[in-house]
Symmetry: C2
Subunit: 122 residues, 2 copies
Protein backbone atom coordinates (compact mmCIF):
# COMPACT_ATOMS: atom_id res chain seq x y z
CA UNK A 1 0.00 0.00 0.00
CA UNK A 2 1.35 3.40 -0.87
CA UNK A 3 0.23 6.94 -0.25
CA UNK A 4 -0.50 7.83 -3.87
CA UNK A 5 -3.05 5.05 -4.03
CA UNK A 6 -4.67 6.15 -0.82
CA UNK A 7 -5.33 9.71 -1.87
CA UNK A 8 -6.00 8.95 -5.52
CA UNK A 9 -9.22 10.59 -6.66
CA UNK A 10 -9.90 11.77 -3.14
CA UNK A 11 -9.43 15.44 -3.99
CA UNK A 12 -6.73 15.95 -1.38
CA UNK A 13 -3.52 17.91 -1.66
CA UNK A 14 -0.57 15.84 -0.53
CA UNK A 15 1.30 18.22 1.74
CA UNK A 16 4.31 17.33 3.87
CA UNK A 17 2.19 17.15 6.99
CA UNK A 18 -0.31 14.81 5.39
CA UNK A 19 2.39 12.56 4.02
CA UNK A 20 3.97 12.29 7.45
CA UNK A 21 0.70 11.20 9.05
CA UNK A 22 -0.12 8.65 6.36
CA UNK A 23 3.41 7.21 6.34
CA UNK A 24 3.17 6.63 10.05
CA UNK A 25 -0.26 5.02 9.90
CA UNK A 26 0.62 2.81 6.94
CA UNK A 27 3.51 1.25 8.79
CA UNK A 28 1.64 0.80 12.05
CA UNK A 29 0.51 -2.65 13.08
CA UNK A 30 -2.26 -1.29 15.24
CA UNK A 31 -4.34 1.88 15.57
CA UNK A 32 -2.39 4.85 16.92
CA UNK A 33 -3.38 7.90 18.94
CA UNK A 34 -2.03 11.40 18.44
CA UNK A 35 0.01 10.80 21.55
CA UNK A 36 1.57 7.70 20.00
CA UNK A 37 2.84 9.48 16.93
CA UNK A 38 3.42 13.08 17.95
CA UNK A 39 7.12 12.46 18.49
CA UNK A 40 7.48 11.27 14.89
CA UNK A 41 5.64 14.05 13.15
CA UNK A 42 6.59 17.68 12.93
CA UNK A 43 3.28 19.49 12.67
CA UNK A 44 1.20 21.24 15.29
CA UNK A 45 -1.55 19.20 16.89
CA UNK A 46 -4.21 21.43 15.32
CA UNK A 47 -2.86 20.49 11.91
CA UNK A 48 -2.78 16.85 12.85
CA UNK A 49 -6.40 16.79 13.97
CA UNK A 50 -7.63 18.86 11.04
CA UNK A 51 -5.93 16.53 8.60
CA UNK A 52 -7.07 13.38 10.31
CA UNK A 53 -10.62 14.69 10.25
CA UNK A 54 -10.31 15.27 6.54
CA UNK A 55 -8.91 11.76 6.04
CA UNK A 56 -11.86 10.34 7.90
CA UNK A 57 -14.35 12.20 5.75
CA UNK A 58 -12.62 10.88 2.66
CA UNK A 59 -12.59 7.33 4.05
CA UNK A 60 -8.81 7.15 4.06
CA UNK A 61 -8.62 6.84 7.81
CA UNK A 62 -10.96 5.41 10.37
CA UNK A 63 -10.98 6.00 14.10
CA UNK A 64 -12.56 5.07 17.37
CA UNK A 65 -12.55 6.19 20.95
CA UNK A 66 -10.75 3.87 23.31
CA UNK A 67 -10.90 3.44 27.05
CA UNK A 68 -8.24 6.02 27.82
CA UNK A 69 -10.17 8.99 26.41
CA UNK A 70 -7.95 9.00 23.35
CA UNK A 71 -8.97 8.55 19.75
CA UNK A 72 -7.16 5.83 17.81
CA UNK A 73 -6.57 6.07 14.08
CA UNK A 74 -5.81 3.51 11.40
CA UNK A 75 -5.78 3.35 7.63
CA UNK A 76 -9.25 2.44 6.47
CA UNK A 77 -9.25 -1.10 5.18
CA UNK A 78 -11.80 -3.86 5.32
CA UNK A 79 -13.64 -3.52 8.62
CA UNK A 80 -12.33 -5.69 11.43
CA UNK A 81 -12.90 -5.82 15.19
CA UNK A 82 -10.59 -4.22 17.73
CA UNK A 83 -9.59 -5.26 21.17
CA UNK A 84 -9.04 -2.69 23.91
CA UNK A 85 -7.48 -3.69 27.21
CA UNK A 86 -9.21 -2.09 30.17
CA UNK A 87 -6.10 -2.58 32.31
CA UNK A 88 -3.20 -1.34 30.18
CA UNK A 89 -5.25 0.53 27.55
CA UNK A 90 -3.48 -1.20 24.68
CA UNK A 91 -5.32 -1.46 21.38
CA UNK A 92 -5.08 -4.33 18.88
CA UNK A 93 -6.68 -5.34 15.63
CA UNK A 94 -8.53 -8.65 15.60
CA UNK A 95 -7.91 -10.51 12.37
CA UNK A 96 -10.77 -12.94 12.81
CA UNK A 97 -13.91 -11.88 10.99
CA UNK A 98 -16.84 -11.29 13.31
CA UNK A 99 -20.18 -11.66 11.66
CA UNK A 100 -22.95 -9.99 13.55
CA UNK A 101 -26.21 -8.63 12.21
CA UNK A 102 -28.69 -6.34 13.89
CA UNK A 103 -31.68 -5.46 11.76
CA UNK A 104 -32.14 -1.75 11.19
CA UNK A 105 -28.62 -0.98 12.37
CA UNK A 106 -25.42 -0.56 10.42
CA UNK A 107 -22.42 -1.91 12.25
CA UNK A 108 -19.20 -0.13 11.38
CA UNK A 109 -16.86 -1.26 14.11
CA UNK A 110 -16.84 -3.91 16.79
CA UNK A 111 -14.84 -3.20 19.90
CA UNK A 112 -14.09 -5.89 22.42
CA UNK A 113 -13.08 -4.61 25.84
CA UNK A 114 -11.42 -6.74 28.44
CA UNK A 115 -8.06 -8.00 29.58
CA UNK A 116 -5.36 -8.62 27.01
CA UNK A 117 -2.98 -11.60 27.08
CA UNK A 118 -0.30 -9.77 29.00
CA UNK A 119 -2.62 -8.39 31.65
CA UNK A 120 -4.29 -11.77 32.09
CA UNK A 121 -0.98 -13.27 33.14
CA UNK A 122 -0.40 -10.83 35.97
Amino acid sequence: MDIENLVKEKDIKLTTARTEILEKLIHAKKPLSYDDIKKDISMDKATFYRNITKFEKKMIVNSFESNDKKRYFEIFESPHPHFVCVVCDSVECIKKHLEFKLSGYTIENIILKGKCKKCNQI
Copy 2:
Protein backbone atom coordinates in the same frame (compact mmCIF):
# COMPACT_ATOMS: atom_id res chain seq x y z
CA MET B 1 -33.84 -5.22 42.05
CA ASP B 2 -33.44 -2.97 45.04
CA ILE B 3 -30.60 -0.98 46.48
CA GLU B 4 -30.20 -3.02 49.65
CA ASN B 5 -29.49 -6.10 47.59
CA LEU B 6 -26.98 -4.27 45.46
CA VAL B 7 -24.81 -3.06 48.30
CA LYS B 8 -25.28 -6.12 50.50
CA GLU B 9 -21.95 -7.40 51.78
CA LYS B 10 -20.14 -4.86 49.64
CA ASP B 11 -18.84 -2.88 52.63
CA ILE B 12 -20.38 0.37 51.43
CA LYS B 13 -22.15 2.99 53.49
CA LEU B 14 -25.46 3.92 51.93
CA THR B 15 -25.42 7.71 51.96
CA THR B 16 -28.02 9.98 50.39
CA ALA B 17 -25.78 10.72 47.43
CA ARG B 18 -25.14 7.05 46.76
CA THR B 19 -28.80 6.18 46.99
CA GLU B 20 -29.65 8.89 44.48
CA ILE B 21 -27.14 7.56 41.96
CA LEU B 22 -28.22 3.95 42.33
CA GLU B 23 -31.94 4.82 42.18
CA LYS B 24 -31.36 6.60 38.91
CA LEU B 25 -29.31 3.80 37.39
CA ILE B 26 -31.70 1.08 38.52
CA HIS B 27 -34.58 2.70 36.71
CA ALA B 28 -32.65 3.47 33.56
CA LYS B 29 -33.27 1.41 30.45
CA LYS B 30 -29.85 2.16 29.05
CA PRO B 31 -26.44 3.27 30.30
CA LEU B 32 -26.32 6.89 31.44
CA SER B 33 -23.58 9.49 31.52
CA TYR B 34 -23.03 12.03 34.28
CA ASP B 35 -24.47 14.56 31.91
CA ASP B 36 -27.65 12.49 31.54
CA ILE B 37 -28.37 12.36 35.25
CA LYS B 38 -26.85 15.47 36.74
CA LYS B 39 -30.19 17.29 36.68
CA ASP B 40 -31.76 14.56 38.80
CA ILE B 41 -29.12 14.28 41.47
CA SER B 42 -28.15 16.86 44.04
CA MET B 43 -24.50 16.16 44.69
CA ASP B 44 -21.38 17.79 43.32
CA LYS B 45 -19.80 16.14 40.29
CA ALA B 46 -16.72 15.22 42.32
CA THR B 47 -18.93 13.25 44.68
CA PHE B 48 -20.68 11.61 41.76
CA TYR B 49 -17.45 10.45 40.15
CA ARG B 50 -15.90 9.32 43.42
CA ASN B 51 -18.94 7.24 44.25
CA ILE B 52 -19.28 5.78 40.80
CA THR B 53 -15.62 4.76 40.94
CA LYS B 54 -16.28 3.01 44.22
CA PHE B 55 -19.32 1.26 42.76
CA GLU B 56 -17.22 0.03 39.89
CA LYS B 57 -14.57 -1.39 42.18
CA LYS B 58 -17.27 -3.21 44.11
CA MET B 59 -18.83 -4.53 40.90
CA ILE B 60 -22.11 -2.74 41.52
CA VAL B 61 -21.74 -0.55 38.46
CA ASN B 62 -20.05 -1.05 35.17
CA SER B 63 -19.04 1.56 32.64
CA PHE B 64 -17.58 2.17 29.23
CA GLU B 65 -16.36 5.03 27.15
CA SER B 66 -18.63 5.94 24.27
CA ASN B 67 -18.02 7.87 21.09
CA ASP B 68 -18.78 11.27 22.57
CA LYS B 69 -15.91 11.23 25.08
CA LYS B 70 -18.34 10.52 27.88
CA ARG B 71 -18.41 7.56 30.21
CA TYR B 72 -21.65 5.64 30.41
CA PHE B 73 -22.71 3.82 33.56
CA GLU B 74 -25.16 1.00 34.25
CA ILE B 75 -25.95 -1.39 37.07
CA PHE B 76 -23.69 -4.38 36.74
CA GLU B 77 -25.74 -7.35 35.59
CA SER B 78 -25.02 -10.23 33.31
CA PRO B 79 -22.68 -8.95 30.60
CA HIS B 80 -24.35 -7.90 27.36
CA PRO B 81 -23.24 -5.99 24.27
CA HIS B 82 -23.89 -2.30 23.74
CA PHE B 83 -24.61 -0.34 20.63
CA VAL B 84 -23.25 3.17 20.19
CA CYS B 85 -24.44 5.36 17.33
CA VAL B 86 -21.62 7.26 15.68
CA VAL B 87 -24.07 9.83 14.33
CA CYS B 88 -26.31 10.77 17.27
CA ASP B 89 -24.12 9.27 20.05
CA SER B 90 -27.03 7.37 21.55
CA VAL B 91 -26.24 4.28 23.58
CA GLU B 92 -28.35 1.13 23.83
CA CYS B 93 -28.14 -2.28 25.41
CA ILE B 94 -28.27 -5.27 23.09
CA LYS B 95 -30.34 -8.06 24.58
CA LYS B 96 -29.08 -10.72 22.22
CA HIS B 97 -26.24 -12.76 23.65
CA LEU B 98 -23.04 -12.49 21.65
CA GLU B 99 -20.71 -15.39 22.05
CA PHE B 100 -17.17 -14.62 21.08
CA LYS B 101 -14.00 -16.25 22.31
CA LEU B 102 -10.45 -15.09 21.96
CA SER B 103 -7.89 -17.36 23.56
CA GLY B 104 -5.75 -15.67 26.16
CA TYR B 105 -8.09 -12.69 26.39
CA THR B 106 -10.94 -12.01 28.76
CA ILE B 107 -13.81 -10.20 27.10
CA GLU B 108 -15.78 -8.00 29.47
CA ASN B 109 -17.79 -5.87 27.12
CA ILE B 110 -18.65 -5.84 23.46
CA ILE B 111 -19.38 -2.49 21.86
CA LEU B 112 -20.91 -2.24 18.44
CA LYS B 113 -20.44 1.11 16.77
CA GLY B 114 -22.43 2.22 13.78
CA LYS B 115 -25.67 3.85 12.78
CA CYS B 116 -28.76 3.28 14.90
CA LYS B 117 -32.25 2.68 13.49
CA LYS B 118 -33.22 6.33 13.62
CA CYS B 119 -30.06 7.63 11.97
CA ASN B 120 -30.26 4.98 9.27
CA GLN B 121 -33.62 6.35 8.17
CA ILE B 122 -32.32 9.85 7.59
